[in-house]
Amino acid sequence: MSDETNETTGAGPERVIGTPPPVKSGALLASGGGDTEEYKPGAELDERKAKKDERIVALFFLLAFAASVGFMVYFIGWSGRNGGMHGLERTRESNFWLGGLMALSFLAMGVGVTLWMRRLMTSVPIEQARYDMATDEETRSSLAADIKQGALDSGLGKRPLLRRTLLLAAAPLGLAPLFLLRDLGPLPEKRLRHTYWAKAVAKAKEAGKPGVRLIVDSGPEASAPLKAADFNTPGGMITVLPEGIYDLGHDALTQIAKASTILINIEPDKIKPVKGQENWTVNGIIAYSKICTHVGCPAALYEQTTHHILCPCHQSTFDATDGAKVIFGPAARPLPQLPLAVDEEGYLIATGDFPEPIGPSYWERG
């Protein structure tokens, strides 16, 4: 190839740097072996068979046309009636017809084109000329000379004042992205450190009560506080929230995501109390954060036979009888335990927040 390149650069029209040199013959296709025999399209085809193949390909194209028309007819005539989709039963039907017809249209077109290529186009090997990727020595040295001359002409070395002030002008642009990062939002600060249990307990204590009642999570309307005597069956489990969390309105879901707690009833003699948390249970009723300390999935697969709490995401397993100690899986810390008590009316209450941040580790938690 290189000899051809040299030849063209010598005699051909003026070249622009970076474009391939003009080809001598002007034809992109060259027949096999490099001889100059003229190429006749379709010369090797049997014309009778070709006619038949032509009709087959045309049939596929007609099928594609019919399917496309069918798609539009279905969309306007049936799927669009009564103003659109109605119910899962209709979704199934429209999925079938819209998807099926569109797939048929594209498939028939593709099959037609492929058959056309396979049966009616040439099977003669085609040689496509390629050239060296690198530019020739002459062009490269001329470019280098141009750059050197430009640098010399600008006086970058001779005039340091200009060089330095230009660098100074560009420096703030380099720092600009830091300001963009800062604008991504405030740091989470202490919001990850506490759950709504803290605020709810503080509110209850202001009102002269010993703690906040636990409600069975049944949505904003139906959630009701739970009595210790009602949650009395060993092996029992239920998801609870602090009373009043649904009054938060828009913020309620965010707070529920952090404050979700599982309440478990274990035979009291099976519980090994954690040091300093001995009186945090009520008659074998014990409460743990539902948020896994690994990456924050809801860990609530409780097996009443083994007293294991399992996280469905990565199989972290916690022992509910032993302060939710990690006994298997990637979680690094036990599930935080909620301090429980009973108020004078017999309702289960929480007397404080979780002693440590719930959920997975984060930057400031350390």
């Binding site: 899962l88 979704t91 999925n95 069975v216 999570d217 239920i238 294991h308 399992l310």
Partner: protein, 275 residues
């Protein structure tokens, strides 16, 4: 050239290999997808029956594991083989027998659901044993599912308290050590109620004072609604969400695309004859 190499050079061999691979994927998928085991059960309220008949049935079918006095049995190492039935109540007996779990075939991590065997295909016999066990130490009786379950409330309760093990549409899921939460494909409303009330095997208990009968009826209504929903794609693919759907789309879809690519780029038969 060996015979195999010759076979591989045939023009259709590539397609055959591809098809075989696709079929293998299909067979493997079928092997892993949850099989449905059918069992019909008739939840009827336990009445005071002839206790003598119940005791006789118990001694014939249950006592070998649970003990002649329903006190349970332990292995020589002290591990529990079969639990005591004193105080479990008629609800538990009805659940275990009508779902075919009891009488169990063998000890293991979990007793699977199976077809109900004789003599318990007759609901009178189930009632008799249930009444006998009830007479030993009380416990929850066979419940009646109240009318008027609220599907929305049931869905909320299901997602917060049940979905973690049984999946959001009741397909079941794995637990530890070979245990699993079974699917709810064929479970009757009474059986669902009994399961919540008694906490069979590893399942926690949801007693009537924690989840009220209305809450339970709502959960049952939710499950029945979800079960009745059609699959918009034609096949639910286990209804476990985008994982199985994506797997099928990638394996089958990409398999078909590969077949197409092979066809488009394959050498033409004409040229094959010449060489």
């Amino acid at each position: 050239m060996t015979r195999f190499t010759a076979w591989r050079r045939r023009s259709w061999a590539g397609y055959a290999v591809m098809l075989a691979a696709l079929m293998a994927i299909g067979v493997i998928y079928a092997g892993f997808s949850p099989a449905t085991d059918r069992a019909e059960a008739d939840g009827t309220q336990a009445q005071a029956q002839d206790l003598a008949k119940g005791r006789e049935l118990y001694n014939q079918n249950c006592a070998s594991c649970h003990g002649l006095n329903a006190e349970g049995t332990k292995s020589e190492g002290g591990n529990q083989l079969a639990p005591s039935l004193i105080g479990v109540g008629a609800a538990s007996v009805d659940f275990q027998i009508t779902t075919g779990r009891m009488p169990a075939m063998t000890y293991g991590a979990q007793v699977p659901r199976k077809d109900v065997v004789a003599p318990f295909d007759d609901s009178e016999n189930v009632e008799a044993v249930a009444a006998y066990i009830q007479s030993l130490g009380g416990g929850p009786g066979v419940p009646v599912v109240p009318e008027g379950g609220d599907v929305a409330l049931g869905g909320k309760l299901w997602r917060t308290n049940c979905a973690q093990c049984h999946n959001f549409t009741g397909q079941g899921g794995a637990l530890t050590g070979g245990k699993y939460a079974p699917n709810l494909h064929d479970t009757t409303p009474v059986q669902i109620y009994e399961a919540m009330l008694t906490g069979p095997q590893a399942m926690p208990v949801f007693n009537d004072t924690t989840l009220t009968p209305h809450d339970k009826a709502s959960i049952i209504a939710f499950i029945e609604t979800v079960r009745a929903e059609p699959n918009p794609g034609g096949n639910g693919l286990g209804r476990i969400g985008p994982v199985s759907e994506g797997l099928v789309a990638w394996l089958v879809g990409i398999g078909l695309l590969v077949l197409c690519a092979m066809w488009i780029t394959a050498k033409k038969p004409k040229k094959l004859k010449k060489s």
